[in-house]
Amino acid sequence: MGAPRKPIEPPSAEQAAFLQRAMEQHGQAAYTFAYRLTRNEADARDLTQEAFLRVYRAWRSFVPGTSFLSWIYRIVTNLHRDELRRRKGRYQEEIPEDNAPQEFAGDRPLAVSPIEDLVEGQLGERLQRALEALSPDQRQVVVLADIEEFSYQEIAEIAGCSIGTVRSRLHRARAQLRRFIQKNDKTRS
């Protein structure tokens, strides 16, 4: 996709073994991550295939002792971004990079619809729809922060953006998830 390709090296048992090991140990995580980003299996398959081909080509650039998972998540993230750019013609940040905290003073109202009050089955279904409604950037940061539990610093490295951007995307994504769940809750009740 996109960037100039590194040529595939002559057959090397070591290189093939590296790829084999990577797919065995991290294939499930990479494919699940790709599915969580794309929300569909066909795109997740394409994304994972291209990601492991990049792992194969660039296997020498992996530094032993560092997190392979972070590396392949970064590859998947970049490929996903490239693919979105190709599909849209141009890929624009869908939310402003404004990270100004909102001042909150006075009495905090009790949560109208606490998440924990929702029945698990209902919530799962709503969460899936809410996740699908997020922008790709917002979905990515939610997956990395809440599901994979990476730190802001690690997410910034994987996504190739600043920590401020990670914060901003996460805050807006969670606010949107909450709005989506509560809106659906009201329409049902």
């Binding site: 909102q102 998440i115 805050h171």
Partner: protein, 172 residues
């Protein structure tokens, strides 16, 4: 006392605050029930996301693994073909080959285009005359070979003079 804003709660939940802010939020949550409730709701959202994600875990399909190996094999085949072509294009082979081609281009037209000569060498007439003269010394005194009639002036004079010289030699 101001409550903790939503962003700070989210950052606290994700361990994204500076140590002093983290300590401040921690102390505030201990003392403030509404903020604690708001924090628990944020934590519930994260837990719900994780619970939902556990249902989404997927094994890497075997078809994807097979496609990856097939793509690598295909790329290797393409590359080995390109390598073979590049072997022939390396300077040690390419420079002499180009030299031969250039030489051929220079020389072939020269040979191919040189037209067959339409002129008759003057020695032919001398030999012809000598042969004629040896058999019939006086027969050619006023004869000019047919081909010579269309030839240039200089050649005519050479051949035309000869019979006179020979006649002088045999004159009594």
């Amino acid at each position: 006392m101001n409550h903790i804003n939503q962003e700070q709660l989210v950052d606290y939940l994700h361990r994204g605050l500076a140590p002093e802010d983290d300590a401040m939020v921690h102390a505030h949550l201990d003392a403030c029930a509404p903020c604690r409730l708001a924090y628990q709701d944020e934590a519930s959202l994260s837990e719900a996301l994780r619970a939902n994600a556990r249902n989404e875990i997927r094994e890497l399909p075997s078809g994807v693994v097979a496609s990856i190996w097939a793509a690598i094999a295909a790329a290797r085949r393409r590359e080995s073909l390109a390598d073979r072509l590049l072997t022939w294009l390396r300077p040690a082979v390419l420079v002499p080959a180009m030299a031969v081609v250039v030489l051929a281009l220079l020389l072939v037209p020269r040979f191919a285009q040189s037209p067959p000569s339409q002129t008759i060498d003057a020695s032919y007439y001398l030999q012809d005359h000598a042969a004629l003269g040896s058999t019939m010394p006086f027969a050619d005194s006023d004869q000019v070979p047919e081909a010579l009639e269309n030839d240039d002036e200089g050649q005519t004079s050479v051949v035309a003079v000869m019979p006179a010289v020979m006649m002088a030699d045999v004159a009594p």
